[in-house]
């Protein structure tokens, strides 16, 4: 019962406190890009864009990685599999502040000194057509790319755990038939395992997406906290969760209400992702004839 009350309670409380901002700005709060406490004008666009961008980057990095980690975990023999799985699970247990700290003190200087100059100058990517548009004004090491990399590392264990279970659910008969027809391991994976468990894999991706969207601390440390729409991969920006963490404690009045409204936007996004995840995972199980 408490679960029900809490869920409803969170919705209701957020809406009550956000009501003032919605009344004041109306629906255009969603696409106004101004954020200025001095004139009490707030808009959610940069934050929403930032959240979406970090999430997308994290997914781009994490999907191939977690896919192949899951593949390895489902194909290796038991004695190697168990310690490896445990290690990957431990990766999920490390608190997010520690990821953030590591990002701030290790990854940011690394990006600043080596990765960004190498990509921009040595490879000359900045001077190719659209380079300015793609990378933005960077060079500080902070920014979306760094946040994306850290998030990718954080969501990898969750995604690969789901994918691993899906890979294991594929009947051995099907896989063996594919091998028997002369397929290589890649072809078996692509044409049999992937076809068979595609919904589960999408479900896993959505789980990672939900995590990445709501992650606060790790992003807060490395995003640069600039209230502007994303200008490029290496430029600084902000996300909904980072803005909340940064400004909430000092905010009063309309600004606080606007922050609550941001929280509502985040809640709606994560709720939508939840629904999709449930849908896909339930469909996977249903197609196997298991009840879920």
């Amino acid at each position: 019962m408490i679960a029900l009350l809490l869920t409803v309670g969170i919705f209701v409380q957020l809406s009550i406190h956000a009501a003032e901002a919605w009344q004041h700005f109306g629906i255009s709060f969603l696409w106004s890009s101004e954020w200025d406490p001095a004139i009490d004008s707030y808009g959610a666009l940069p934050h929403i864009q930032g959240s979406l961008m970090t999430t997308a980057l994290a997914l781009i990095v994490a999907i191939p990685l977690s896919f192949s980690v899951a593949l390895l975990l489902s194909e290796t023999p038991e004695w190697l599999n168990r310690p490896l799985s445990q290690c990957v699970d431990l990766l999920a247990a490390v608190p997010s502040v520690i990821y953030g700290m590591w990002g701030l003190f290790v990854l940011v200087p690394l990006m600043q000194d080596y990765v960004q100059p190498f990509l921009l100058e040595s490879l000359g990517l900045l001077y190719m057509p659209g380079g300015e548009w793609l990378f933005g004004e960077g060079g500080s090491g902070f920014g979306f790319m760094t946040a994306g990399v850290i998030l990718a590392l954080m969501i990898l264990p969750y995604m690969s755990a789901v994918m691993r279970d899906v890979f294991r659910m594929t009947p051995h008969m099907l896989k063996e038939s594919a091998y028997g027809l002369g397929s290589t391991r890649l072809e078996t994976t692509l044409y049999v395992v992937l076809r068979y468990g595609i919904r589960g894999i999408i479900g896993g991706i959505f789980i990672g997406m939900g995590r990445a969207l709501g992650e606060t601390m790790a992003v807060l440390f490395v995003i640069g906290n600039l209230m502007e729409s994303p200008a490029g991969l290496f430029s600084c920006g902000t996300t909904i969760a980072a803005t909340l963490a940064n400004n909430f404690a000092e905010a009063t009045g309309l600004q606080q209400s606007a922050l609550f409204a941001l929280g509502m936007v985040l809640m709606a996004m994560s709720f939508g992702i939840q629904l999709l995840t449930r849908y896909y995972l339930a469909r996977t199980c249903a197609s196997r004839g298991e009840n879920y």
């Binding site: 408490i2 192949s68 700290m101």
Partner: protein, 284 residues
């Protein structure tokens, strides 16, 4: 559908996939190793008895430590466990034993899943709206409740999963011996799932002990020992790390942040490894 390709080409691609697989697992494990190594190297020189036991102080004062933050984290985590475990267990028992297929149970399951997937900062926002605005002050209690809200659905779902793993034959034999439904649940089913339940609780405890986002504007931070736990802002280790590393330009404070990070990481990983080993041995 498939166009003919040479065997050589197919084998090449296959080997590329294997290479990429090893690359990804080394990224995952290497990433973790790197993070732990950094925390260890930076954190170890700072650790001392004094560091662990004296309270934090503003920059420049001698004899500063993180004792108050560690104690605050301990209190909040334990408090959250006390608050979240009884309803979590009870709800899990209800879902697994009594209302397995009822429509209320499926609604509850759905809500628990939504809560589990909710970004933790929103929980902080919620507790702020309910507790901090109404009582008028930040407090350790608010932090505790925020952590409990995060813990509760996790415990609920683990309890349900663990109880469902108990074979039905056990339940039936208990009932056949004339036990009431409740006694059978408590004495037989819960007992045989005991290890699983303990694992679930410990793992969720480890998880919330490192949570920062929900504490940022519920418990806030303070340079004092957690004296007024119910009325005053209370320090906690993760928030201290955040404060010291993002809001401070001083090397010595960064070092203290690393030290705290080492303590927290060691605690979390230790709990994880111990419970996993323990549970693994018991399952076989």
């Amino acid at each position: 559908m498939m166009t003919p390709r040479s065997l050589f080409f197919r084998k090449c691609i296959n080997h590329l996939l294997s290479l990429f697989t090893f690359f990804s697992i080394s990224v995952a494990l290497g990433g973790m190793g790197w993070i732990l190594y950094t925390v260890f190297v930076h954190g170890l020189p700072v650790l001392s008895w004094e560091f662990l036991t004296s309270p934090s102080k503003p920059y420049g004062e001698p004899g500063a430590g993180v004792g108050n933050a560690l104690l605050g984290t301990l209190l909040m985590t334990l408090g959250a466990t006390l608050l979240a475990v009884p309803p979590g267990l009870a709800g899990g028992v209800y879902l697994a034993e009594f209302g397995k297929h009822s429509s209320l149970a499926s609604v509850l399951r759905f809500c628990a899943n939504v809560l589990m997937g909710l970004p933790s900062i929103l929980v902080g926002l919620f507790v702020y709206a309910v507790l901090v605005t109404n009582t008028g002050h930040f407090s350790g209690l608010a932090g505790t409740i925020a952590l409990a809200v995060i813990m509760f659905p996790v415990i609920l779902r683990t309890t349900e999963d663990m109880l469902l793993m108990v074979p039905d034959a056990m339940r039936e034999s208990a009932l056949a011996l004339g036990m009431s439904r409740m006694r059978a649940t408590l004495c037989i089913v819960a007992r045989s799932a005991r290890n699983g339940l303990a694992t679930g609780i410990l793992l969720s405890l480890a998880r919330v002990s490192g949570e920062t986002a929900p504490l940022l504007f519920t418990a806030l931070f303070a340079d004092t020992w957690p004296g007024g736990f119910f009325t005053e802002p209370t320090a906690s280790a993760p928030v201290l790390i955040t404060e010291y590393t993002t809001n401070s330009p001083f090397e010595s404070m960064h070092a203290m942040g690393w030290g705290t990070a080492l303590v927290i990481a060691a605690f979390v990983l230790l709990v994880n490894i111990v419970t996993r080993c323990f549970f693994y041995e018991n399952r076989h």
